[in-house]
């Protein structure tokens, strides 16, 4: 039987910023320790019930156990030691890395297909479709993916909610200022790939809407996960 205090201990350690790998090990080892404390007492003739009560006392409170882990900086996650860097700079860096890598791959593929593309006719509608797909990929899907992944990591590590929100806001606002275009046409020259960053007063409302929709989409999985936890908690109560 899994004792409820070990589920609570797992949650408290995660909230304290102890790395998930260390939390799993800690709970498993402390639980094993607890069972041995019970066995030792039962072997001395104590009843299972009394042994369990005494073992809880011998183990000490969860607060003391958690304090011991919190005092070891090497057991805390990097994201909990420097949350501002992790949840503002890292998502932006992640988005840029993903976008630049994809762009390089795209340019390389187009470059290798130059000879083929010279002999291919790409209809304007198709060309427009490719451009639209690139915009969706770079200005919606990639930022959503990066922001949602960081929000999920924050949730798993029980980081305070304002940090994943900061990550989502940073990525959404940054991306709303970007322009991406992929013009792929047949003939000679066969096409071009381009990206740009720009701000203009005319497009500010549209950029704000873009940022808001992207932020809402990235926040949705986190919100659903937290809602589920709240409902589970309420049901358990």
């Amino acid at each position: 039987m899994v004792d409820q205090r070990f589920n609570e201990l797992r949650e408290q350690l995660l909230r304290e910023g102890v790395g998930a790998r260390h939390v799993r090990r800690a709970v498993s080892e402390i639980e094993q320790h607890f069972r041995q404390l019970i066995d030792e007492r039962v072997a001395r003739g104590m009843s299972e019930h009394d042994a369990r009560i005494e073992a809880h006392g011998a183990l000490g409170t969860n607060r003391i156990l958690v304090q011991g882990y919190a005092a070891q900086p090497e057991l805390r996650t990097w994201s909990r030691r420097w949350p501002a860097i992790w949840f503002t700079l890292m998502p932006l860096a992640g988005y840029l890395a993903l976008s630049v890598t994809s762009m390089v791959v795209l340019v390389t593929v187009v470059h290798h297909m130059t000879n083929t593309l010279r002999h291919v006719h790409i209809a304007p509608a198709m060309s427009h479709g490719i451009d639209l797909a690139a915009r969706v990929l770079f200005l919606w899907f990639f930022p959503w993916l990066v922001a949602a992944v960081f929000a999920f990591l924050a949730y798993r590590r029980r980081v305070a909610r304002h940090w994943p929100i900061a990550a989502i806001a940073a990525v959404s606002v940054f991306v709303s200022f970007l322009n991406v275009s992929l013009v792929l046409t047949g003939g000679d020259p066969p096409g071009q790939v381009g990206a740009g960053i720009g701000v203009s007063m005319d497009s500010l409302p549209a950029q704000a809407v873009h940022a808001a929709i992207l932020a809402a989409l990235a926040y949705a999985p986190l919100w659903l996960a937290m809602r589920r936890v709240r409902q589970t908690g309420t049901a358990a109560d």
Binding site: R25, S28, E29, Q32, H33, G68, Q72
Partner: protein, 112 residues
């Protein structure tokens, strides 16, 4: 070179754990029991100190951990690494030096 002002009290759990594990590999409960036995119950490392210390020492590369099934239970056994052995030698030297200094101070105070 010995450290000038070792944080000897905060290093005591590490010293005890490394010393015990220098003899043979052990798991957490066994270490806790061995400390009590070896010190005739004078010293006891609570679980809130022992396990974080074990995990921190492993993170620093001073201990090695491996899972092993024993008596029908999966246990994590710890043993010293080469780096752990060097660290133990350093901690032991620091402790002895500090202990001699305190003894000398107490002896001096008693005769003074």
């Amino acid at each position: 070179m010995p450290t000038k002002n070792p944080a000897f009290m905060s290093g005591v759990p590490a010293l005890i754990v490394l010393r015990l594990l220098s003899e043979r590999e052990m798991y957490g409960y066994e270490i806790a029991r061995s400390i009590k036995l070896a010190t005739h119950d004078a010293l006891s490392l609570g679980e809130g100190v022992l396990y974080p210390a074990l995990h921190a020492l492993e993170s620093r590369g001073l201990l090695r951990a491996r899972s092993r099934r024993a008596d029908g239970r999966m246990r994590i056994y710890y043993s010293l690494t080469a780096r752990g052995k060097r660290h133990l030698a350093r901690l032991t030297e620091d402790w002895r030096r500090m202990s001699r200094s305190v003894d000398s101070l107490l002896g001096g105070a008693a005769h003074g």
